[in-house]
């Protein structure tokens, strides 16, 4: 059992507030990812959980017990650092057994545990090597092994894949997901990469400027972003934001006039005419054929990726629209296309960036 709660946690360094009233609950065996742009406070939050940093106010509750004043080593947590932080002067074996030696575990038990972990992570033949003789992926495994060896209740991972090249990152991501299933442990993972967050997480916590923007499953965040920030952060390529204003309509079906003169009909409550609104549409929900609202646009850039074609286009009043079209298209830069937005998947945000369509947009299947 490892159930973690952060209650109203705030942190400031001198006059600078880094975290503001953060409330998060992490259930037993859950894989939770903290995601957000750099400087959003996600690493600080992880360090507060680890006990490397003290919260200015609020509580860290582990299995029902407030652990604010417990030293890092006594919290039953393990941490994997971004730089791996392997002890350079120790062999892999010594790195793995170091934590157990400090807790006065009997020698034979340490050896058995190290052997087990090494087998599990396929690093048996590396045990006598020094960290500098290992490749990036191997170091990463050792770092994870060092965390595993103490059988912690909660694993804290601070951007563990950010030092690996793209290919290895994908492999390690899959290994990490498999490991989570096998270990049946609670994991808290920090990253700025939304793809990592989407692929690994049971639930994602989106942070910005020290505040929780939204907590939810990856698809909840994708389908119902609570605000413009989350909408723009989750999903690749990023969501398009088209500026416009209310232009009448009837109950439950507002008419929106986008800058540039295009009209849309949205199932959201009608607001006074002229009130500004931002329409969010994901690149995958734009087509060049069919659909309801058609916006003539000039293509400025074509990215032919094979399975899909991403086009960047300019329309009147809308400087940059990105569309991800399925398959391969005969479109070149400079062409004029007619962009059709799929009205079932439009998101609307008010002037403060809050979602207006809450509960009224169809789920994507």
């Amino acid at each position: 059992m490892s159930h973690l709660e952060l209650k109203n946690v705030s942190k400031s360094f001198g006059p600078v507030g880094v975290l503001h009233h953060v409330d998060i609950e992490v259930k037993d065996r859950e894989f939770v990812v903290f995601v957000g742009p750099s400087g959003c406070g996600k690493s600080t939050l992880l360090r507060i959980i680890a006990g490397l940093e003290k919260a200015t106010s609020g509580d860290v509750v582990l299995d029902g017990e407030v652990v604010n004043h417990l030293a890092a080593a006594d919290r039953g947590l393990a941490m994997v650092f971004q730089s791996y932080a392997l002890y350079p002067h120790m062999s892999v074996r010594q790195n793995l057994s170091f934590g157990l030696e400090n807790t006065k575990t009997p020698r034979d038990k340490i050896e058995a545990r190290v052997a087990e972990i090494a087998r599990m992570l396929r690093i048996e033949e590396l045990l006598e090597r020094k960290p500098r003789q290992l490749s990036g992926g191997q170091r990463q495994r050792v770092a994870i092994g060092r965390a595993m060896v103490r059988r912690p209740g909660v694993f804290l991972l601070d951007e563990p894949l950010s030092n690996l090249d793209a290919e290895l990152r994908v492999t390690m991501r899959a290994e990490l997901a498999a490991l989570h299933k096998r270990l049946d442990a609670t994991m808290i993972y920090v990253t700025h990469d939304q793809t990592e967050a989407m692929t690994l997480a049971d639930r994602i916590v989106v942070l910005r400027d020290g505040r929780v923007e939204q907590i939810g499953t990856p698809l909840e965040l994708y389908n119902r972003p609570a605000n413009r920030f989350v909408a723009g952060f989750i999903g690749a390529p990023h969501m398009n934001f088209l500026e416009g204003r209310f232009a009448g309509g009837e109950a439950g079906a507002a008419r929106i006039e986008l800058d540039g003169g295009h009209m849309l009909s949205l199932r959201i409550p009608v607001r006074p005419e002229g009130e500004p609104i931002t329409i969010g549409v994901r690149p995958h929900h734009i087509e060049t054929q069919g659909g309801q609202a058609r916006i003539p646009a000039t293509v400025t850039l074509v990215e032919a990726l094979g399975p899909e074609t991403v086009i960047h286009a300019e329309a009147e009043g809308q400087p940059r629209i990105v569309a991800a079209l399925a398959g391969q298209r005969a479109i070149t830069s400079g062409d004029t296309v007619s962009l059709a937005l799929d009205e079932r998947f439009l998101h609307a945000f008010d002037a403060d960036g809050r979602r207006v369509t809450e509960g009224e947009v169809a789920e994507e299947m």
């Binding site: 680890a50 006990g51 890092a72 947590l77 002890y87 400090n102 103490r150």
Partner: protein
């Protein structure tokens, strides 16, 4: 950050190429040889002169190369007063104690300054370094009076304390830089692994700061080994002298003339340990010096 760049400096120095065109390399090589020749000349002369018989050493005009081989000078140094072994032992003992004291004080001090929040830490550090500006000769008289009362004169420990005082600011400076060069995440990993601050120092920081500690030891050794004035003042018994004091004693000949032969032999004997230790620790020393310099 994946590579902890402890030896970065050392590697880049050894692989650097000086000019690929031949003339430039020849010129650089010539300059190097010239500098080496100038620096080595007195040592070579001392070495050659130490094997000359007495009459030949004092001959006017002097001959650079010895015409006959003699160990006369070495024998005289060996048998001088309490005997060379006693002085060698004294020098080694004082140097060894100086190293021990310097490390025992500079390692925790450097650790504290590098890794702990100490109020007015930078000011403290500057005050510490500022003490290097005071000429120690000015302190010797009061120190002598104090040490006499404490029974620390004619005593290895006493002289080692003086040498430690002289060497400590530099040692703390080097150790602080060495510890600051160690990534913070290593310290945090050790904290999560259940280490106390002292265990972190002993099991993580000290092994990683080995080049810095070697640098401190080397400088402490050379300073203590060569230091003359304090040794002369604090060691007033002939059995307590260190090598530099012996060297000034051994040159006194009859009627104020200088006995050059034994002096050269003494110089050779006293230089050997310095060279030996330097060669032994050279690898650490260079990387330690750079890791302190570039951080």
């Amino acid at each position: 950050m994946s590579d902890i760049p402890l030896e970065r400096g050392a590697v880049s120095v050894s692989t650097r190429r000086v000019g690929t065109r031949l003339p430039a390399r020849v010129i650089v090589a010539l300059i190097c040889w010239l500098v080496i020749a100038i620096m080595a000349w007195p040592l070579v002369m001392s070495f050659l002169a130490s094997f000359k018989p007495e009459a030949e050493v004092t001959a006017v005009p002097p001959d650079y190369l010895p015409h006959s081989f003699s160990l006369q000078s070495y024998l005289k140094v060996y048998g001088y007063q309490a005997g060379l072994p006693t002085y060698l032992f004294n020098s080694f003992m004082v140097a060894f104690l100086t190293i021990v004291f310097c490390l025992a004080l500079a390692v925790p001090a450097g650790y504290g300054l590098a890794r702990f929040h100490v109020p007015f830490k930078e000011v403290l550090f500057l005050v510490l370094l500022a003490s290097m500006m005071i000429p120690y000769q000015a302190l010797l008289t009061p120190l002598f009076l104090m040490f006499t009362k404490l029974g620390l004169t004619n005593n290895h420990v006493g002289l080692a304390i003086i040498h430690t005082i002289l060497q400590l600011p530099f040692s703390v400076y080097v150790m602080r830089n060495a510890f600051e060069g160690i990534p913070r995440e290593l310290e945090e990993a050790a904290i999560v692994d259940g280490c106390s601050p002292l265990q972190i120092l002993g099991r993580i920081f000290m092994p990683l700061a080995m080049p810095g500690m070697v640098t401190v030891s080397l400088f402490a050794f050379i300073m203590s080994w060569n230091e003359f004035l304090a040794a002369l003042i604090f060691m007033s018994k002939e059995t307590a002298f260190t090598l530099p004091v012996l060297l000034t004693g051994v040159i006194d000949s009859f009627y104020g003339s200088v006995s050059w032969g034994p002096l050269q032999a003494g110089v050779v004997v006293s230089v050997i340990p310095c060279i030996a230790i330097y060669f032994l620790l050279q690898r650490y020393y260079v990387s330690g010096f750079l890791s302190g310099a570039v951080k």
